[in-house]
Symmetry: none
Subunit: 137 residues, 4 copies
């Protein structure tokens, strides 16, 4: 089953709820398994830079089937894959991107959040992911 | 006043309502006055090609402050601006993109719809625009 | 079920068999449902230009869920979508690209062939498609 | 003699054999002396990120006529060519790319492997290279 519009909007609403709670306007992007845009929301007041960053975080998560920050372990100074962050059009290997999996464990998409500090973006992303998980439980 | 998230989602919901009515899955993109993405929805079943086309129609509409199809009058064979469609990263000078204006007549963004024939996309775009207009009345 | 490596290579072998029969070296590209490269072969003697063209034909077919030449009906002179061929990074709206469908009718990828005349490429593409169909029968 | 389709597929089959042995789905790309794609295979289950990375590793190897990881010696912190990795559209200066040479020692192409850790990719690349060498012995 491909990622549905209903699932994508549950992710976005989950992110916005958390973002409002902490008073932070964010951008939320949801991609499908092929890294194509499925849904997107830029909350009023979010900085323009976050459009590209949210998209890259989600892209990083879906292409590597991993949280965006985990990709940094491979390309940080001293790690074995210097320049990995330059692949795939430029990655965002820091917190805020999380892959979305179907009931069979297959990656069906990813979400990316940007707008505040990495810690804040990660919190909002986790809340969005929790909303997605609640759907399939 | 910049285009609000509330306005953007009214546009998208208006488009989806019409699209469902005619049984056509579409992509709807909403940009702000600076041609930056504000909101986006890809209905289940819409072809992937429509992501790029909806974005380009909205871009065409906001950059020229005109319906996307009106730009064709300037670049069609015999018209004075051949190749205009190659500017700005590639335009989509056919129906489905409509600028959005604030109460003072200033362009505050644009919508773009893609998914079916040009006539269908134009109908869906008009319904989305009507939903936007109803908000400000 | 996503397009398998086995299916992709059946497509490529089917194309090469036909291409050898007519004495034409071609490039064959196979993409998955998200337009990502799955398998590729450039026969000895094929012109370098065909790499990009085969990829674009397959991209056109998978993004529009249609044979590549059918997209031309929408953007040819006088048709309602002038400039459509500029979307999605540049289309190849002429024969040689065919979508591949799973048993449930869903598009799971596409093939693109380039190397000779459009008629020759279309023949090779059809032979490749027939080899794919024979697999699932 | 340019790299033949037969040689390219020997490389790919050699890589896949090793990859199966270690239970790792990988992407294998083979380029010719001009850095143009000759053959490509994405094994079932390989992450999408590896398409671009395998292509970049092979590109790095053929453009510099060196193993991809050797290029890092020129651009690592303190080395004399900072930013070298940004040249040529973005290099992948880490293990998995190996140049292919003809009997006269001329570089006729390169292979690139991506899918697992750098150490795993390097092992698979070496096995693919060994299969290529066995052909010409």
């Amino acid at each position: 089953m491909p990622l549905s519009s209903h699932q994508a909007h549950t992710v976005i609403d989950g992110a916005e709820r958390k973002a409002r709670e902490i008073g932070l306007p964010v951008v939320i992007a949801v991609l499908d398994a092929g890294a194509h845009l499925k849904a997107f929301r830029r909350m009023d007041g979010a900085v323009l830079a976050s459009i590209d960053i949210a998209l890259r975080k989600a892209t990083t998560a879906v292409l590597f089937q991993a949280n965006s920050e985990d990709v940094w372990e491979y390309c940080k100074p001293g790690a074995p894959a210097p320049g990995l962050e330059l692949s795939n059009g430029g990655l965002a290997p820091f917190g805020g991107g999380i892959p979305l999996k179907g009931p069979d464990g297959q990656v069906i998409g990813a979400l990316g959040v940007s707008g505040g500090s990495v810690a804040q973006d990660t919190d909002v992303a986790k809340a969005a992911f929790a909303a997605f998980q609640a759907l399939t439980r």
